[in-house]
Amino acid sequence: MSVSTPFSTSSDAGVQPRLTWPLVVLSLAGLILLPSIWPSSYVVNVLILAFIFAILATGLNLIFGYTGLLSFGQVGFFGLGAYLYALLTMDGGVSPWLSILLAGIGSGFVALLLGYPALRVSRASFVIVTLSVTLLAALLARNWVEITRGPMGIPRLPAPSIDLLGLGTFSGHDPHVFYYIALAIAVASIGAIYLLVNSPIGRVLRAINLDEPLAASQGISPKKYQIAAFAVAGILSGIAGSLHVSHLGIVDPSIFDPYYSEMLLIIVIVGGPGSFWMVVVSSLVFMAIPELLRMAPELRMVLFGMVLVLAAMLFPTGVGGYFEQRKLAMWRRSLRS
């Protein structure tokens, strides 16, 4: 674990640094116990989707919040991971667990290849190139019928299962089992990113974000770090995508729906780009909102659009940024007295 000093602008915005770990452990314990207390498979399914979005949002947070590059490629890699999972399990005969891993690695590798042309000119062209990658992937999924089966999609996908020695095998097709699979993968991948952003590499990424020429003058090659961060975010998206379709049981071109991009963006913007835990919390909140706010989907998206407009106008650093500022103000006051 990294040592938190006032100068490393700790990413655990939102609460006192001392409170972060007890809160994380407590929430995790709550999530582990929840299906036993509230065994509704409806609640379990909503939470599974929230875990998947938390992985996806943490990936976008790494590339946008920490590295400062707004990527619209995340949903493209999400879909790529989903298709890789489907093809590996159905056509390749690879086991579901290994397929999830390979889907992540495959998506990360494609991100690595795309990073160079995408970062060639400017931040504006990075945005547009990453967006185009998602659109191209959707076009491929719809039209490369021999491989992807086109708009019909690939049904009857297997789900990973848990094999407990002596207790038998638990199939992931049961939502209560899949809940723990999704939770475990989410904890592992989000935890890995937490370690990454709090490591020296994470500090380099933030330095590049704050002042690229200054970072370059210190002998850091910004492009290499940016491409690496893009690849890691691609791995996360690929894992999230494969997890999502292994739960749904089918993959089709609707995996590239703009709905995913819009939800992903709103989760990260409202949570606060660069605020690690707030983005994770925001994923859980925004996946629960549609279940609580029953209204016409169009009207809900109008409201979400307004939230995005308000966020961009009034609080571009999100809820996490607000708490971060409060914390800095408290430090200043304590230094003065």
């Binding site: 945005v127 191209l136 039209n143 703009p258 819009e262 407009v309 961009a312």
Partner: protein, 289 residues
């Protein structure tokens, strides 16, 4: 050969439509340095307003075209006054997030109010085609192209000969120098945004009788136009025009000899090639944001 020429004619028509949208987008980018993600949704708004005027109110095509263009331009100006005006230079990401939010409100608002099904607009020019030297020319499309050409020529005249147009170009070229000589940024940027968005509305309105009108029609064409302005060079108006015609013709020819899927992908693939070979675009001055 005749088939090829027919494809080129169709392609130039398609390219003209891209040009209307791309030039507006480029104008806004040049003055505000904001990539307007809601631009395609203003195109959709123009088409929706025209469809409502022609089918529900029974107003003729050409008066409706003018009303729709002005209405969308006014909405664009209001968006500038209420929202975009408060942005400073270098707040690139915030501009994108804001315009995505505006786009979500427009698309889903129209879907909520008018329903998300496709609507056709019939005018007196529908199903009419002209025979020009043996080539099949669709009347409605030709009108759309002529309207576009007139709008682009008018914009060129405004930018070249009027004080306000020169001020716009000065502002896009060098912000500080424009401040020093007394150009008021809020006035110039407001007019540029209104013109840029009105052009998108005009494109949508002119094409409403050609394509089906529906709330989600804005995003696909906008994304293609993004690729076009990257190819032409961000912020370059001649680049936007040339690249639009180039992509329009290429798409049409590829679609004619190959598959429709490849036709949709060609702009994005060309963009990646251009970025590798000419990072600043074909006509770009290499603006770095």
């Amino acid at each position: 050969m005749e088939f090829f020429i027919q494809l080129v004619i169709n392609g130039l028509m398609l390219g003209m439509v891209y040009a209307l949208i791309a030039i507006g987008l480029s104008l806004i980018f040049g003055v505000l340095e904001i990539v307007n993600f809601a631009h395609g949704h203003f195109y959709m708004l123009g088409a929706t307003v025209l469809a409502a005027l022609v089918t529900s109110a029974g107003i003729g095509f050409f008066p409706s075209l003018v009303i729709a263009t002005v209405a969308v331009g006014v909405v664009g100006y209001l968006v500038y006054v209420v929202l975009l005006r408060h942005f400073r230079e270098g707040e690139f990401d915030r501009g994108i997030i804001l315009t995505i939010g505006i786009g979500m409100v427009l698309q889903n608002g129209v879907a909520y109010l008018f329903g998300s099904s496709s609507r056709m607009v019939d005018t007196s020019l529908s199903f009419v085609s002209w025979d020009v030297a043996g080539f099949f020319v669709d009347a409605q499309r030709t009108v759309a192209v002529l309207v576009g050409a007139v709008a682009i020529a008018a914009l060129y005249a405004v930018l070249t000969f009027t004080r306000i147009g020169k001020a716009m170009r000065a502002f896009a070229q060098n912000r500080e120098a424009a401040f020093i000589v007394g150009i008021r940024p809020a006035v110039i940027a407001g007019i540029a945004v209104a013109i840029g968005i009105a052009l998108a509305g005009l494109a949508g309105a002119a094409l409403a009788p050609v394509f089906a009108v529906h709330p989600a029609m804005g995003a696909p064409i906008l994304f293609k136009v993004f690729a076009i302005i990257i190819i032409g060079g961000l912020g370059s108006l001649p680049g936007a025009l040339v690249a639009s015609l180039l992509i329009g013709v290429t798409e049409s020819v590829v679609g004619g000899y190959s598959s429709v899927a490849l036709q949709d992908a060609v702009a994005f693939m060309l963009m990646i090639v251009v970025l590798l070979a000419f990072p600043a675009g074909l006509f770009g001055k290499g603006i770095r944001v």
